[in-house]
Symmetry: D2
Subunit: 403 residues, 4 copies
């Protein structure tokens, strides 16, 4: 240990190179010791992880010094009636925000009592949009035209880079001399940003060669990755999912201590008019809470909460009750790759029956997306119900005192 610390101190060993000289657990231990020495801070708690990290240090996290532990609660059972998910699920929610699990749990209860949430996936495709520089606007149109006419060539270029993903479509947008080519792929059970990026690089090379377009950036922000953007809402990114449930008046009264008209009014004035007045791209109550908690539990990329939570919640008052639905235009999820293979995250995916690749390929990721949408619906129902009954503040007082 001391020898390594000395080498780190004198710069003859780089902090990120430790894994090349020793097994991962040792490397993490030495690195943590070095950081402790440099900062005078004890980091023991970070070191008491139990996940296997041989792969983690290669695939998930450079310069690893340990792990944070995020509490996981379950909400459920949640009955889901999708095309891929069917049955009751216990939703694992990794969160440190008091009241969240209880809130989602209450929504699950209502949904399950109502017979389950109907869920459908409307679109599915992961995107990356390189941006090219054209010589002038005439050239810009030539590039766009070439791309629109040569889908087959693009597909072929992509096919050489991956056996899992499948090229779906290319759509072009011009802004002056900038040409954005939004490439969309079916990435099966992977969230797929990585395979899509690699395939896009190949396609971008081809476009450059054939048209003289100069590649400026492999990502041109029309992807749009991890930023809130209308293009994702309108064209979709990842899974476009919709979930809905009919709640009879009696159930609304029993579970939420309110009524259909109140639910509808809260949704109207808060989620629709309020969001409109705020210049928002999100028309929901707390979709991000549920998406974030499931994503962290299940090894998803938590930065994808940004687009994954752009949700529209609607409440229709119908005879004898209310029909409540959530629409999520851009939910990027995967059951292979990313953090899905880490022990604790894999356990959470297993809990939902979606660990690893599905049969047929893609079915696990789709099932997972359906369950998440059901969970988001539960969260919306519960918070709308609480607000309608005007006890949000009291709920916070009781459950989240420490915040």
């Amino acid at each position: 240990m001391q020898e390594y610390l000395e080498r780190l101190r004198n710069g003859s060993l780089k902090l990120y190179s430790l894994e090349k000289e020793m097994p991962a657990p040792d490397a993490v231990r030495v690195r943590r010791a070095f950081i402790e020495e440099q900062t005078g801070v004890h980091l023991d708690s970070l070191g008491s992880f139990t996940i296997g990290i041989e792969q983690v240090v290669k695939k998930n996290c450079e310069n690893m010094i340990g792990a944070v532990q995020v509490p996981v609660g379950v909400a459920g059972p949640l009955a889901v009636r999708g095309e891929y998910a069917g049955g009751e699920y216990f939703l694992p929610l990794a969160t440190t925000e008091g009241a969240l699990v209880a809130s989602v749990n209450r929504g699950c209860s209502a949904i399950t009592k109502a017979g389950g949430a109907d869920v459908r996936i409307l679109r599915d495709g992961m995107t990356r949009a390189p941006v090219f520089a054209a010589r002038d606007v005439v050239h810009a149109k030539e590039i766009a035209d070439w791309v629109e006419r040569n889908g087959d060539a693009l597909a072929k270029a992509a096919a050489g880079t991956t056996s899992h993903g499948r090229f779906l479509d290319a759509s072009t947008s011009v802004a002056g001399t900038s040409v954005f080519v939004r490439l969309e792929f079916d990435t099966k059970d992977a969230m797929g940003m990585n395979m899509v990026t690699i395939a896009s690089a190949k396609i971008a090379d081809l476009i450059g060669e054939e048209t003289g377009a100069r590649l400026v950036s492999l990502s041109g922000n029309m992807c749009t990755d991890k930023k809130p953007a209308a293009v994702n809402i309108i064209r979709g990114r990842g899974k476009t999912v919709v979930a809905g449930v009919y709640l009879p008046d009696s159930l609304i009264a029993e579970v939420f201590k309110t009524d259909a008209a109140s639910l509808a009014e809260v949704n109207l004035r808060k989620n629709l008019v309020g969001s409109a007045r705020a210049g928002s791209l999100g028309f929901n109550a707390q979709a991000a809470n549920v998406v974030a908690a499931v994503f962290i539990a299940c090894g998803q990329d938590p930065a994808h909460v940004v687009e994954g939570s752009t949700c529209i919640t609607t409440v229709d008052t119908v005879t004898g009750g209310a029909y409540v639905a959530v629409t999520m235009p851009s939910l990027p999820v995967g059951t292979v790759g990313g953090g899905t293979g880490i022990d604790t995250q894999a356990a959470c995916l297993t809990l939902l029956g979606v660990r690893g690749g599905g049969d047929p390929p893609g079915s696990h990721a789709k099932k997972f997306a359906e369950i998440i949408a059901g969970g988001v619906l539960a969260g919306e129902l519960s918070l709308l119900g609480a607000l309608a009954a005007q006890h949000l503040a009291r709920a916070h007082q009781a459950l989240g005192r420490g915040k």
Copy 2:
């Protein structure tokens, strides 16, 4: 154990009531066992946590069954020159996304070599916006007028609910018969949503009594909490922070293998024109990646990544180099409350020297915000640099194979 499982099975014991009958660790164990039994899934890995959970089950997570472990890597040292943060920091990043820590680390290296990132906090205030129903538009104006004229009464009502927070301002927006009152508070070292919600409830009661306004929802989505919204960008929410660094040409060449003009062009075509073309509210490369990783490491609310990551990145080409900056209008952070007290998360805050309340109150949260902005700047620099050098795809291929 078996007795409890039996009672859970037959419904005489509720899953969420276990903590009332036994110590927290036992409750979590029984609950996990029950879920395992119900689903036939082994969840041992979730059970091997080491954090103390007596407080966690009360404040952070209901229905707890264990914990996920999220790998933490460090990026740094990162030199920050703020009004609260001054010195070099190792940034803890909880992530499962390969290449992220390495990417931020490279940005930190450039910043530190350049002498550090200048950071300033421009605004600070946490918000909640109840929505009221007015009888008609005439009444709506009366309500708005009353609120605008009675700031002192609102402040007094709020003061009765908290000794930590301080009422700052109320701004009103009308949409037909809906009146939104955006209440802003100084919440010191707490992120503060909870205290703000409680104070807002009190204020909402007062407004209702004095004006006849009918409270429809304690949150009217003009807050705007956890949804991307222009109101947060324009008026600010949490901390409004800006960070910038001047990089001389030689440093850009050394660290990023590119030049100032290329950085500027990538930023222009991708972050500005691309985001404009996409109808986006985010004009950056990967702010969400850094915000999410720090938030999870440090016990912040990860759903706040949504507004916390709405960042504008700018690159000015100046004599002999480039001045690169990030502007984050709505970064909600705290060093007390929420998940900040959990062992591993507290360790990460300690690593940054911001654990617990600061002296004076608020200084820890501000210092934390400054460091995060520096980290986001590092992430932007690194990704812009990588894109400019056109090796994003190759970086992914090398580091994130599993995705």
Copy 3:
């Protein structure tokens, strides 16, 4: 004539200089003749205008060759109950779009039968936002701080440029090294962009001198002038106006052949959910139609239709009927300056009782804004009613065959 044409041809006389050599009507005639000669097109119809143009060629239109005639229809009587407008008005609508006047007329009929539209102005202030370059983000904050602390100095600088306008407020926004200072003025009966621009130039000079900020552009697009922008919706620009009316069931049935629930459903699914789904900043049916037609009739700047029409329309179903309202956050109007003094436009303003400066100053522009909001409400009611009764297409077929 021939002499002048010859001089225009050989370039010894500039097309825009004709007014310096002859009376305006002659200058316009010669210029038109020259254009006819150059293009071989007869433009007689443009020449048969009757408005006095001595002032027009100086203040309103350079290089004038004539005038287009836009048909004006009247809708009304429209009963308005505002703080400035009270009584019944015939709304002059300059339009070439068949069905528009008839549509608005039907809405006016409903409003007037219902006793009139309640209208209130919630805010009033015209804005201009120069953008400055700072040396770095530290300097950016210093500039912003100086502006926030020196409102009196800004007001004094502005006061030297105008006796009509009054400085109200300055709000700052930083983006990296760009500092935007949004200056707001009470411009009384003028729409006021011109006086605001002149005053802003003076203020910008002062800010530059005092802070070392470098003025990059007198307009930095946070004004935001003639672009759809959330800042105008959230902070207001020009007049922020709200208008509403209660329609009993019987009246809805009589005038619109539909019912309250149908009106509410169309508004919900189209104006709220549809606009949300479209990533829109406008949540209305046809506000722009009415704003454009009144603006052209009354000599307003028609490019202001862009922000002037960002309207939220709401329908509340209430006992025995519906309460329908329009909220217009940024309606820029004036009754002096711009095109308000041209004979035909002045006549239209006179028809509404708002020609020229009001007593007290500002009252004419406010009255005008209230009447417009009432007209927009009429248009919304009528189109929602038509859509609810599913005869939009038939209405178009009957009235607009030529399109």
Copy 4:
């Protein structure tokens, strides 16, 4: 006359029915007299129009009482090198805003000296999006699926309603139980909203019959007509046009008294960063001014200025100068129908060589769109140049004193 006035007074004759009893000019005269009598206001000036109104009162304007006269100035010659427009044009601008014609004229001068603006049309299609109610989300997906699979049937339904327009595409978006079907048509030389609405009604009936979807509104705001909306920017509406020009340094100095770097900086900080900071959907300087002025001169629907002016302006600094471009994603224009047939408006279209239907059909509208884009580019150049030279305020002082 008196007899009719008496009948109008006693209600036995309706104001809108006058055309049924007498020739149009008489009807307009009687109606105006009645309004004068009711309001005590003289409206003579409105009555001195010279356009033929037999068709106008049927197709363009109900309840006509006269016409406003809007001054028309010319800017140009403007050299345009498009696929439809080629040559030099004098742009007719109907405006009452001093300095506008002069500003555009200066931009035209620069463009023409530079050899002309390159212009290209990237997309072309007019849209209407009915919204349907589904029973639940499962039904919503069925409806969307049916539409996606039955393009031929939709095309056939549309074909029965028009011989001019051609169905292009249907794209569906779901939000809970609301299903939006965005129908796109090639409307040749017509702007086409009317034919599109009629065809959409037919298609909507078919969708209803085949799927059980309940038509709620023939327009569901995903069209999006006359509201600023990302869907139009992303998918296009009307013509998507791009125009650009290369200006050498010498020309920038000569015409604009500034340099390429200053133009680029103003564009960056104002049009890109400023608009981003403002939450805007428009990234330009004054596109709306030019669009509005041409639209009014040429009989276009002025409410379409809203989407027609959502423009992105870009400035690339390139060797020896600057390449400046405007991108207009949703420019709805026509050369037949609407106000295009009125004498004065027809004259303005003739001036541009685009009056009436083109050969082949559609070529006139496309040529018109190209010229407008060139004009918008001229306006952007000129204002950017003026701002760069910091004399916007002085220009206003000199030219627009009356405002």
